[in-house]
């Protein structure tokens, strides 16, 4: 292979929210065992397949319901919206994609931030939503994450981050890449204020989000089966023509290679996070 011919892409293609992970089938049909569920059944089961344990994706609002004591969540910065600094236009204008994503998800961008209690312990939360343009991180995701860090830093408290992202948002160009150091600076400041961060990686957490804040929790947890890789499987197999291991980039593989503190099934996530909040409480 000659130089200059070898190009690298690290962003995972963003998926429309109505697509399943492999792009086919109904979203409530389990890709693990083929069982089909009504939406309310699945929601009741925390969107974990009662048959085989497959963890379906969870949107930000529903994730907050699962994690936080009922009624305790107060959202912050809900009014922040992406600008279009590059007037980016591919097959459709970025501005149009943003409006559509907001209409489909009811979210202002790919992250919901705020404060809430988990088993009675107050914390800040930064919860990503893959449904909004593949959970891609642009200026708004970066800014909202940073503000969450700053709020946690004020009280020396803990930020709980739940990531789900295909990586940096191409439509914001180099400014999207700058959200990596921007969020990292905020975590450094948080740590210098004796605050802490618990990072929960959910399917998928790839590209620029894995290569920034998601990897820098004091404790890093993942849901079973979550893909967490810097480069997505498709890019790796296309670039290297390597045969990928079955569990390539999955939480289980990452745990084995020393990149995770624990894999936590969704049913135990709330209790685990609460336990950690207690451990990181400063007297």
């Amino acid at each position: 292979m000659s130089s200059g011919q070898r190009r690298v892409d690290v962003e995972v293609e963003s998926k429309r929210p109505d697509e399943t992970p492999d792009g086919k089938g109904h979203p409530n049909t389990c890709p693990g065992c083929g069982s089909h569920y009504r939406d309310d059944e699945l929601k009741q089961a925390l969107r974990v397949c009662p048959q085989c344990g497959h963890h379906f994706r969870v949107g930000a609002r529903e994730r907050i319901e699962q994690l936080v004591d009922t009624g305790s969540f107060v959202e912050n910065d809900a009014d922040l919206r992406s600008a279009d600094p590059l007037q980016f236009f591919d097959l459709r204008p970025y501005a149009e994609r943003l409006v559509e994503a907001e209409m489909e998800t009811g979210l202002g961008d790919a992250i919901v931030c705020g404060a809430g209690d988990i088993e009675g312990r107050t914390c800040d939360l930064a919860i990503m939503d893959f449904g909004f343009m593949g959970g891609s991180m642009g200026s708004v995701v970066g800014e909202k994450f940073v503000r969450s860090c700053e709020r946690a830093a004020e009280s020396g408290g803990t930020l709980v981050s739940v990531s789900a992202s295909g990586g940096a948002r191409m439509q914001e160009g180099i400014l999207a890449l700058m959200q990596l150091p921007k969020t990292i600076c905020a975590i450094e400041d948080l740590h210098e204020s004796r605050g802490s961060m618990i990072s929960v990686l959910t399917h998928p957490t790839t590209g620029g989000v894995l290569a920034s804040f998601a990897s820098l929790g004091d404790v890093v947890l993942a849901e079973p089966g979550a893909l967490m890789s810097f480069a997505g499987p498709r890019v790796v197999s296309q670039t290297t023509r390597e045969k990928l291991p079955d569990d390539f980039g999955r939480a289980e593989s990452n745990y084995r290679y020393g990149h995770l503190d624990a894999i936590v099934p969704r049913s135990e996530l709330r209790a685990t996070v609460a336990q950690l909040l207690g451990l990181f409480e400063h007297p």
């Binding site: 130089s3 200059g4 070898r6 190009r7 690298v8 892409d9 690290v10 962003e11 922040l80 919206r81 992406s82 600008a83 600094p85 007037q87 236009f89 591919d90 097959l91 200026s139 708004v140 800014e143 940096a168 191409m170 914001e172 160009g173 180099i174 400014l175 999207a176 890449l177 700058m178 959200q179 990596l180 150091p181 921007k182 990292i184 600076c185 975590i187 450094e188 790839t206 590209g207 620029g208 894995l210 290569a211 920034s212 804040f213 998601a214 990897s215 820098l216 890789s229 810097f230 480069a231 890019v235 790796v236 670039t239 290297t240 390597e242 291991p245 390539f248 593989s253 290679y257 020393g258």
Partner: protein, 313 residues
């Protein structure tokens, strides 16, 4: 868009003008420099000019990190190995003297011939490379050596082993190490500034970019493949996400542009090195006299401001 570019530069100028001056800062120099850049700002680069930058940034004869190192630093001594797994030669680290001071140098390194390209993995580092970089950073911090980085990579290597070794975490931690560094730091994008693999060593007090370098969140081909579903649309993609130096300066992502010889850095490597050396020295002059804590705080404040929002409630 030329007017908008101008507006942004003016906005940065006015922001800087209104800042409280720290004891010892040279912000007045900074103002003069920005004014200068503003005055020289040509019309916004066209799609054609952007693509020319992409081609020059990837030119097979373009000078690489070690070409500059041998011309800029005296007594350069390369530091090898990450002390855990390997020595990744896609990323070089070392000590060298410039102007009588010892610097730590960290840079991606592409290969010149076929064999070296393979050895250096086309400048695409494994996590081992970023861990070696962190080791060099911690040596710099321990001894108060300022850090120069040279960024020139298509991206961090996207391979099975690289993922198993923790590519994402290594890139995140390398940035965090740069955020923490107590010493003055200058990053220079000298070729391809490809995504996470580039920013891993580009978080600095001053980020310079050579005139024909590119700095981007994804490669033009990658972007085209995803958004246009056709890698052949790379030119269109590049024109859309604007990885050229002028746009990076305009967006506040880099702090200065380093001129290249007419026709690109490869037409006269000695001259390109001289210009780069001048740029590096000028950048350090702006930050050397700052108190370590102030400098680190300003570094973070700079990144704090990156991004553009529609509503800034």
């Amino acid at each position: 868009m030329p007017n908008e570019a101008e507006m942004r530069l003016r906005e940065r100028l006015s922001k800087l003008g209104g800042m409280k001056l720290l004891r010892g800062t040279k912000l007045s120099g900074e103002l003069a420099r920005l004014q200068d850049q503003l005055d020289q700002l040509r019309a916004d680069p066209t799609a054609e000019e952007i693509w020319q930058s992409v081609e020059l940034a990837r030119h097979v004869d373009r000078p690489y990190t070690l070409d500059y190192v041998e011309r800029i630093f005296d007594d350069f001594f390369e530091l090898h190995g990450d002390r855990g797994r390997a020595d990744d030669s896609a990323l070089v680290t070392g000590l060298g003297k410039l102007d009588g001071r010892t610097f730590v140098l960290i840079g991606h390194q592409k290969g010149r011939d076929i064999k070296e390209r393979a050895t250096r993995n086309f400048g695409m580092a494994y996590p081992e490379g970023y861990r070696k970089a962190m080791r060099a950073m911690s040596l710099a911090g321990r001894h108060g050596f300022p850090v120069v980085t040279m960024v020139d990579t298509p991206g961090a290597y996207p391979g099975v082993a690289a993922e198993q070794h923790g590519q994402g975490g290594a890139i995140a931690r390398s940035q965090a190490a740069m955020v923490r560094l107590p010493v003055p730091t200058v990053a220079c994008v000298i070729g391809e500034g490809g995504s996470g693999g580039a920013v891993a060593i580009a978080v600095a007090d001053r980020v310079l970019m050579q005139e024909n370098a590119i700095y981007s969140v994804i490669s033009p081909e990658g972007c085209a493949a995803i958004l246009w579903r056709d890698a052949g649309q790379a030119r269109k993609a590049a024109a859309a996400f604007k990885p050229d130096a002028a746009h990076c300066l305009e967006l506040g992502v880099v702090d200065g542009i380093v001129a290249e010889p007419e026709g690109g850095a490869h037409t006269d490597v000695d001259a390109a090195a001289q210009l780069l050396e001048q740029g590096i020295l000028a950048a350090f002059e702006e930050i050397d006299d700052l108190d370590d804590d102030d400098r680190r705080r300003l570094r973070r404040e700079k990144y704090r401001m990156m991004g553009v929002l529609a509503s800034t409630a």
